[in-house]
Amino acid sequence: MSLLEIDNLSLTIGDTQILKDMELSVSPGEVMGLVGESGSGKSMTALTVMRLLPHAARAGGRVTFDGIDVLAATEDQMCALRGDDIGMVFQEPMTALNPVKTIGEQVAEGIRWHTKATRAEAEERARKMLDRVGLPSAKFPLSRYPHELSGGQRQRVVIAIACALKPKLLIADEPTTALDVVLQAQILDLLRDLVAESRMGLLLISHDLAVVTEMADRITILRRGEVMEAGDTARTLSEQLHSYTRQLAQASMHVPARARPRGAGPGQPLLQVEGVTRDYPGRRTSLFRRAPDIRAVDDVSLSMAPGQSVALVGRSGCGKSTLARMILALDRPSSGTIRFRGDTITGKSEAELKPARRDMQVVFQDPYGSFDPRQKVERLVAEPLHVLDRKPTRAERREMVAHALHEVGLGQQDIDKYPHELSGGQRQRLSIARAIITRPKLVVADEPVSALDVSIRAQILDLFAELNQKLGIAYLFITHDLTVARAITDEVLVMHEGKIIERGKTSEVLDRPQSEAAKSLVAAAPDLHRAIARRMQEQG
């Protein structure tokens, strides 16, 4: 007997069909993985079960939870279910908690609401739950506020809220997507334990096939609101009967074809970072006192050859983005020097930096946030041209933009579009076009594919590889995703607490990590091959 049974569910918002003939079931103690790319209707499925859909949404079909017809239930019945029998964990832990209430209040609130327990009883249960999710009272008293916690800790609080009343079903919508791999592994372990402890059903929603494979007993693959394939995880993924399943699996393991990797050959290095340190002033503890400085980057040295592709990997907060900002001369080191093509760039004025700026560009993580929505593609891509010595004419500018668009696989017709008219993948191509228009020697890419769906991500990785070969651009990839590092870089630098603690050929470091930090990164990274192999053993 299934705990949750979704039959023939269809969902429309306005005139848009979101879900069509959706089928899914979860039994007690079972982990059901729901996989699909963005816009496939995964989150809407979850919100339908919770009946927290936007006002304009219309649902048809049947959703039965524990014998209750969810679509026909009254709002009071749903309020009684939510938080008590069904818990939900959301994607973005940084914003999922109310900033003005303590974590104790927020965990205890649902307990008090559903059980009519007294404040003291509810707080005691909240305390136990927080202990259970790994937030012990010594460091995390109930009186802590969300802003005093890190992303991973906040996600534990959200899980504590969702599981406080031992729900029969937990819905986790991309619970680890915003976290680094080590935190991801910890949160997934916690979810697995909670399922085992109380035979809770878990509906795990993710775009990451490897994560779902590691976790789920059964898997449902969703595409544009329709179920493509469903079944036991091991069989579904090993047989890959459906072409879309195969496509997803291949895309998530995609390695671009690259010619012989370039090493640090003889000749002048492109980039030299020597003994660079960056301190930030500590938090003011009173009017006259400050905490000691925070060392974000600690005595880092590295060197890159022209055309080389290097990965800078590490957990969130390890200092990799600060280092990148200093290389791009967007931030000044507290000490140490950075040389680009032999010229020192530290301590130079903006005017003196102009030639260097021309030769280094940047690609950011979020293709949605990094464009002014009111400007057209032509102006957006032409932005870096102001660093040229001679201002191009209007016709030249258009010609250069068209050429850059062509190089990243966008068409002539896109030049007069606005960013919102482009898809996520096209927008990331746009930011690459913007980066290469000045013919730079170095592109710094900060998590350039982590916001993208697997199939688009494979295409963008191909594009990076192609531009590396064709234009000889060197890359510094900043990422916590080791599959990206493995796919596209020659060398890897592992950063931990501001220091580079391990470096070498990418394949060597990732296959045989030496330092503890590198080992834990490698161990925590989800790997589809490994996950399928393990599932095969378990499920026969």
Partner: protein, 315 residues
């Protein structure tokens, strides 16, 4: 928290000192000798010189500033040129009208605006919201003196519930005094409430789109409980900012309403002092208002910290 408090306090004091220097300097620069003004055009140069000496006007500038500023601290504002009574007495008398009026108006405005804002935000785009916001639009657009006249017509002339104007003084008893402040307070409060309701609504709508509202709903709280427990407090910061600004306005900017209702308030005192070139009164009232605005801003800043724990522990 202590650091935040001390910092705000230090800023408030610095602002006050700066403002006092500016007010003093402006009146120094203005043409016209107070001693000559007091004695009239026919006085001899010797008489003027004598009075200047008596008033301390011939002392060095810095010394006079310090003298004046220390006077302010002990609530000695000097004597009015036209009435020849201590300025503090004039001000005290007027504040007894203006301060209660401002407080009542502010309370009314808050009591009207917050529920309307909550109502509108929770029914965004529906009929109730449109009616409420239409009324608010009207409240902002209609001038308060016209509204005051309508109130007088209905409640004083027609229904005889309250006096049409004037102020009997607190000596006449609390209730008659309050009764005469009621209509002016309503006239002042309604446009303010209209603005505040719109601010509350838009702040709430923004908050209601936040992820933590969904988290609260997923706990099983009904919509109404989420609105009161989670949304309202997070929407308070812009509301408090507007409230602070409104209080400052209500204290000083009520001259039109005071005139409509024949109230002896602070606004009319300043207006008369300006027309009579009674600069010492102007100077004193301006300083008083500056101090009041700074004090209100300090209170608003501190209430931010009460509402939002992130402001208490800056990270």
């Amino acid at each position: 928290m202590t650091a935040y408090l001390l910092k705000r306090l230090a800023i408030a004091i610095a602002t006050l000192v700066l403002a006092s220097i500016v007010v003093f300097a402006v009146l120094e620069v203005l043409p016209g000798d107070p001693a000559r003004l007091m004695l009239g055009m026919n006085a001899s140069a010797d008489q003027v010189e004598l009075l200047r000496n008596q008033m301390g006007l011939d002392a060095p500038l810095a010394w006079r500033y310090l003298h004046w500023a220390s006077g302010l601290l002990s609530l000695d504002f000097g004597r009015s040129y036209t009435y020849s009574v201590p300025v503090i007495d004039l001000v005290r008398e007027r504040l007894a009208v203006s301060l209660p009026l401002a407080l009542i108006a502010l309370a009314l405005s808050t009591i009207i605006a917050i529920p309307i804002g909550l109502f509108s935000a929770s029914r965004r785009g529906r009929v109730g919201d449109m009616v409420a916001m239409g009324a608010a639009q009207l409240g902002v657009a209609v001038p308060n003196f016209w509204f005051a006249l309508m109130l007088i017509y209905v409640f004083a002339v027609w229904l005889h519930l309250v006096p049409a104007g004037g102020f009997p003084g607190w000596a006449a008893g609390a209730w008659p005094a309050l009764k005469s402040l009621l209509l002016p307070a309503v006239a002042l409060a309604l446009p303010q409430a209209a603005i505040l309701a719109r601010v509350t609504r838009s702040a709430l709508i923004e908050v209601l789109n936040e992820d933590y509202i969904r988290t609260a709903r997923a706990k099983g709280l009904p919509y109404r409980a989420v609105l009161w427990r989670h949304a309202l407090r997070n929407a308070m910061i812009p509301v408090l900012t507007i409230l602070g600004l409104q209080f400052a306005f209500l204290l000083a900017g009520t001259i039109i309403i005071e005139n409509v209702f024949y109230l002896p308030g602070l606004g009319r005192l300043v207006f008369q002092a300006i027309t009579q070139r009674d600069l010492i009164v102007v100077e004193s009232v301006v300083m008083l208002l500056v101090a009041a605005v700074i004090a209100v801003n300090l209170v608003v800043d501190l209430s931010y910290a009460v509402v939002d724990p992130r402001l208490r522990t800056r990270q």
